[in-house]
């Protein structure tokens, strides 16, 4: 796996451009830095400075090549590349708390922002006024919206919140699109309509993801659970109480397989068995190579004794690639139905690219369905 250490501080959020040659990330401050791949190296090519608070979300629209960023300064900016400069356009979200996540819709004519104002701002461009406007989805959200994901039909939006619930809303904007056709989540989709709401788990919903077809939605909560709602089974929810620390990010890699990662600093595979409506743990994806067992020199023993008050030979540092919690996962190649590559970024300031085929051959018991 390819691991690159960008920073000594956490990467707050990241987004890739269409051909995966550039990555935009927030280095735990008010800026967005764009790095371009230069052979085996990464070179910083842009610094986007406009936000007055930490940038909490970045999304890069693949076709229109526009960036959208949101931050704790309660603002969102849409960035357009003019020549070699990224120009920001302020979008008034009409919120009085920090923005926490942002996602372009599949057709890139809208984007959604989740915030601490306990609502979702759906923003679209109004041609006549040459201005981004937004509509709010409020009811029945009771706390901060931490995560968002769009359904492929460009209308339905899944939202994970600190009120422990996963919800699917309609974000239909008649000004920019046709009436959507019926989906397994329902037929009537006026703006703000609640199509699905999970019963309470007991943890903040950190991350939420629609499957490629949109008929399944999965989310991870702070109570160390992974849940999946299947519209094909009348929205039945399968949940798995994991043995791990809470997961912070989840994505589908096939229609039946998920990769999730979090405070255990290691991506893990989960499988959904449709016939039984059950989620199972499929194994850790970061299995360190056996480090050579060598004895400690006398000097190292003494250092250990001095530093850790123990001459134990056991390695006290993490064996995983990431040395701190993984906070975000993104699909790089293959889409959410046939993912062949995905990327993780974390609080260790590092970014890792995982190749699914390599994982399958390296970890013999791995079964990706």
């Amino acid at each position: 796996m390819a691991y690159h250490s960008f920073l000594l501080e956490p990467i707050s959020c990241h987004a890739w451009n269409k051909d995966r040659t550039q990555i935009a990330l927030c280095p735990n401050n008010h800026e967005v830095h764009i790095y371009r791949k230069d052979g085996a190296k990464w070179s910083k090519v842009h610094e986007l400075k406009e936000h007055n608070g930490q940038v909490t979300g970045i999304d890069w629209a693949p076709e229109s090549n526009r960036l959208v960023t949101c931050g704790t300064d309660r603002n969102a900016y849409v960035w357009t590349l003019k020549g070699n400069v990224w120009k920001p356009t302020l979008v008034i979200l009409r919120i009085n708390r920090a923005a926490r996540c942002v996602k372009w819709s599949p057709k890139e004519n809208k984007f959604a922002v989740g915030s601490g104002s306990r609502l979702i701002s759906i923003c679209y461009f109004e041609q006549e006024n040459d201005w981004w406007v937004c509509k709010h989805i409020k009811k029945p959200i009771r706390s901060t919206v931490l995560s968002l994901d769009w359904h492929p039909n460009n209308v339905l939006l899944a939202a994970g919140s600190c009120d422990f619930k996963c919800r699917i809303f309609s974000a239909y904007i008649k000004e920019v699109e046709e009436r959507p056709s019926p989906t397994p989540w329902g037929s009537k989709m006026p703006f703000g309509e609640l199509m699905f709401e999970s019963s309470s788990s007991c943890g903040w919903v950190h991350s939420i993801c629609f499957s490629a077809s949109g008929s399944r939605v999965a989310w991870v909560s702070h109570d160390s659970t992974l849940c999946l709602a299947d519209a094909g089974k009348k929205m039945a929810v399968a949940s798995l109480c994991t043995e791990t620390l809470p997961l912070l990010a989840v994505t589908f890699i096939t229609e039946n397989s998920l990769v999730a990662a979090g405070h255990d600093c290691c991506p893990m595979l989960f499988t959904y068995e449709e016939s039984q409506g059950v989620l199972t743990f499929g194994g850790k994806l970061d299995v360190p190579k056996q480090s050579s067992q060598r004895g400690l020199t006398a000097r190292e023993r003494f250092q250990n004794l001095d530093k850790k008050a123990s001459s134990d030979t056991a390695n006290a540092s993490l064996d995983t690639l990431h040395k701190n919690s993984i906070s975000q996962i993104s699909v790089l190649a293959g889409g959410k139905d046939k993912c062949s590559q995905f990327c993780t970024t974390g609080m260790d300031g590092g970014m890792s690219i995982w190749d699914v085929k390599s994982l399958e051959s390296a970890l013999k018991d791995l079964k990706i369905k």
Binding site: C202, D223, S224, T242, E243, T244, L245, P246
Partner: protein, 106 residues
Amino acid sequence: RRTGEALRAFHAAIRSSPGHSRNAALKEQAQGTMLKVLTSFKSSEIEQAVNSLDRNGVDLLMKYIYKGFEKPTENSSAILLQWHEKALAVGGLGSIIRVLTARKTV
């Protein structure tokens, strides 16, 4: 025989746990019963008892263990620590996380 009785009492206590009750007296009684059952086990029997539980059972056991830690009696902490070690091996850190995040306590 004695082992069998302790195990049966254990399963009965797990099954009849008043999970969603708001009745404080009822919960306190259940805690007391569970503590009695847990302390009646020999150290060597604990692992088998834990392995006989399903995922929800392990989570529930972990909640009772921490509840037991809250009000320690003469010897309770020692035996509870042994239960904790075995429950942790099966339930992982996730089971402890769920003790912390649970909104309905035992």
